[in-house]
Symmetry: C2
Subunit: 151 residues, 2 copies
Amino acid sequence: MTSDESSDGPATDRAAFDALVEASFAVQGLLGRTADRHRLSLTQLRLLGILRDREPTMLDLARHLQLEKSSASGLIDRAEQRGLVIRKPGAQDRRTIRVAITPDGRKLIRRTERALAQPAAELLAPLTPRQRRQLTGLLRDLLGPDPLPSS
Amino acid sequence: MTSDESSDGPATDRAAFDALVEASFAVQGLLGRTADRHRLSLTQLRLLGILRDREPTMLDLARHLQLEKSSASGLIDRAEQRGLVIRKPGAQDRRTIRVAITPDGRKLIRRTERALAQPAAELLAPLTPRQRRQLTGLLRDLLGPDPLPSS
DNA sequence: TATTGTTATACTCTATAACTATA
DNA sequence: TATAGTTATAGAGTATAACAATA
């Protein structure tokens, strides 16, 4: 396999990407199952996560979640009906509304995040602490800087 | 073990899991966008990937995709209407049917996989070849053996 | 005119429950 | 009775297009 490794673009890339795809399904499955147990969809879990420390407009939200604005409307409709978020009138621009998490929503996201700790630990169990740090570093290099804080 | 490593569960775990979650959204987004361009949902992409080298029964398929059997029925209905898969009668047990990919389905999954190579390479671009191999190794340790070949 | 958000409509994906056919 | 699969039904999530209110 030395010739493999010396030329090592395509095969290495393919293996790395396949591993990432498998890992992504494992992680999404874990997130989805945990959210499900708390009667949340994955999208709603992301929504509440975003709203923990922000009160974005509908358009901000749609951009963060990569949704059409009409899809964001429906998402907020359903979350609002469940009492997890509220629509608040925008201050300057009266066309806008701001979406805020409610105390109930905050409780739910906290509970769900706590519940996430155990399956997360189980997922990471096969790795040593050193390997976990290595993995974190590699994934951070892969992902680059977090885009959310800026916008 | 240094004192760092002996204490270092929760914070390290949290950072590693957060990085995995972010990476999973990045990978799923990439997969979803590429599938979308080929008029496939993520589930259909997985379906065709499974069918490349298997002719599972509906129940096998439901298990592989972690779906209820009725959900698998609908999924196959839609894929069959598009000519991507066919239902074939099962051999011994006449209650079963086997799902097979069609030539059109095979063409489509091939095209989609080829289209995936470029964004995959872009995603991996920040890592050196050595880092890619490291990442692959870590993720394989994390995921354990592939469960599909056995079942 | 342009932008923000909602509504109307349609489709995919998913689940639960009831059903048919075969074992 | 038990299992494999389908159908009926419902709801979430998503998109496109048309619309209202505000800028």
